[in-house]
């Protein structure tokens, strides 16, 4: 199989990743995007790392709430329940 120069280049691919993941690419662009992805190992690595970044972000735990603030809110909740 001869190398076919894809329509989309890597720089464009990178800038379209979020739009692709958001499902926002027009059908034609999505096909070009996926064709590029098929043949480009660098972009395969890059998009996988973006996906990993999202998974890791989902693991970020909320920061602690100060006990004072929480106690005040729980008081408000008890009042609200009444």
């Amino acid at each position: 199989m001869t190398h076919r120069d894809p329509d989309m280049d890597c720089q464009d691919f990178i800038e379209l990743i979020t739009e692709y993941l958001e499902g926002g690419l027009a059908p034609d662009d999505r096909v070009r995007f996926e064709e590029h992805l098929e043949i480009c190992s660098g972009c395969q690595v890059y998009i996988e790392q973006i996906r990993a970044t999202l998974r890791l972000s989902g693991q970020v735990e909320p920061e602690d709430v100060s006990p004072g603030a929480l106690a005040k809110l729980l008081d408000a909740f008890r009042d609200w329940k009444k």
Binding site: C10, G23, Y46, E48, V60, A69
Partner: protein, 234 residues
Amino acid sequence: MDQDSQPRAPSETGANLPPRPVAEDDLVLAALRAGSEEAFAAFVRRHHASLRRIVFGYVRDSATAEEVVQEAWLGFLKSLASFEGRCALRTWLYQIALNKARTRFQRDLKVLPFSKVVSSEVEAQEVAVDPGRFQGPDGPYPRHWAAGPAPWVKDPVVMAEERETVNLVREAIGTLPPAQGTVMRLRDVDGLNSEDVCNVLGISETNQRVLLHRARCKVRKALADRFKHAARES
């Protein structure tokens, strides 16, 4: 990639995000209405710090931010009975907090409005990857990688179990420009969808996407820089 003809479910386009489902909020709502203190405490723990950060983006003062968020929770409780479930409970909570932050902001016009922060970040010329990493016009494949990104040494699933890696992500999100950090936090940490984020922040879908893209690419780079070092050291 054989899914060309398949419509994409949100979970798929969301790059297999861990479930932070909106369904979870329905359970929370039922528990709150049933008067569960544990459910309320858990909901506060889950969202309080994020709310404070977001409000801080407007008021730029920690004590004021804390005060505004406390007010938001009180407003949330007060109107809980009338909540009709047209959006996720958390989205509604964030909207209340943002409204309070905007009101406070109007009282104190020293700070920059969020819309200005958004437009300055969106209008800045910025690319996700240093153009020097790509081939120039004289290369065999201009605008394609000169040398692609190095694969990370660790499996992402293993990485996600390591507190250090997750802390690194948290720190990287913390150093993002304010609008980018706010959008990424709401989307990828707090689990709001894009429509909700646009509503909560009052920004367009396009701007939301630009901010999210820049944010995610910067956080990826922070991880790549770290894992490059790790690979070199070992």
